[in-house]
Amino acid sequence: MQWKNTTTRFGVIAIALHWLIALTVFVLFGLGLWMTELDYYDTWYKQGPWLHKSIGVMLFFVLLFRLFWRMLTPPPVALSSHKAWEVKIAHLTHLMFYLLLLSIMFSGYLISTADDRPIEVFGWFSVPATITSIPEQADVAGWVHLILASFVIGLASLHAIAALKHHFIDRDQTLNRVLGR
């Protein structure tokens, strides 16, 4: 297996990035829903959000690297069996994923930095606040964060269903390619 993508195959890096981000997004979604419902005396009351923010910021850097990698080594061309509308929708879905993830990260950042407090990332470094003047910023950004996150989970589910359809019904290489086969 090769590091970079070719016109017919995904490379190891692209495959690893795909699954790492997919898994992390689902973990962050679950963690986010769970941590906001915790009792005040729960041990995770402070650790949950700390972990959520730290992982979220790290994921942003991973996503940036993914976009850089994508430019450096473009993904393989669509299978010839795919119809034009399928290719179009697939491309649109990928674009939506990137836009949604970036918007979710940005809105999450705006919640925690609404009053000029930085975000601590695993105690390694801090991300400083920039925008702090939106009225009731934490509430508005929190609402956007939740709505877009729910949206990305919905889109990911459709994306997975489509992949399974290609694998089991169309019996083509779509899913195999992103598994490195």
Binding site: I111, S112, A114, D115
Partner: protein, 193 residues
């Protein structure tokens, strides 16, 4: 000409006199100039005091030093303006775990009576509406001072303190046994109308 001038002055003087006797005791709380604040404090874990404010409110009061027993006060608070100097906590305080500001955007206190005490002290009786629940509440009041301001107006100021359990108003989120009681301090300066 002279007579008309005299009549006009008399009418004006009469109007001024009438309005000053009618309105002598009515004050609007100076939230515009921010010479008023509504602060609360609640214990954190029973280990320290956490202070916060409501930044957006308005109100009025009546107070006549010659007849203090007739005093009355009304204060309306925009609950969304809660400010504990931490945006994420304020977001939580606005949520349905606490103030539920979408459902209950306003809190208010309306007095029903006033019992003057000694040395400018007194007790305001009234009803507090918070979180959609109205309950009687007493506020201990201390008259601070009154007089002309440097800009042609007349001002009068008080400080009121009170204490209640937030659970009485249906705010049940568990913060520990020491964190049910809320103490509030209202510092108000009124401008005579």
């Amino acid at each position: 000409m002279k007579l008309r001038k005299l009549t006009t002055s008399l009418i004006l003087a009469g109007l001024t006199f009438a309005s000053s006797t009618l309105m002598a005791a009515d004050y609007v709380i100076d939230t515009k100039g921010a010479h008023a604040s509504i602060k609360f404090r609640i214990q954190h874990l029973g280990y320290s005091w956490l202070y916060g404010r409501f930044n957006d409110f308005d109100g009025k009061f009546s107070y006549d030093e010659a007849a203090p027993e007739k005093a009355s006060v009304e204060v309306n608070i925009k609950t969304a303006s809660v400010d504990s100097n931490h945006a994420e906590r304020d977001k939580h305080l606005r949520s349905d775990d606490f103030l539920n500001v979408d459902k209950y955007p306003e809190a208010k206190f309306v007095s029903t009576g006033y019992s003057p005490g000694k040395d400018g002290k007194g007790t305001v009786k009234g009803n507090l509406t918070l979180h959609g629940i109205t309950k009687p509440l007493e506020i201990d009041v201390q008259f601070i001072g009154a007089g002309k301001d440097p800009w042609g107006g007349y001002r009068s100021g008080f400080e009121g303190t009170t204490k209640f359990s937030r659970t009485d108003f249906g705010i049940m989120k568990n913060l520990g046994p020491k964190s049910n009681d809320v103490e509030m301090t209202l510092s108000v300066e009124g401008i005579r109308q």
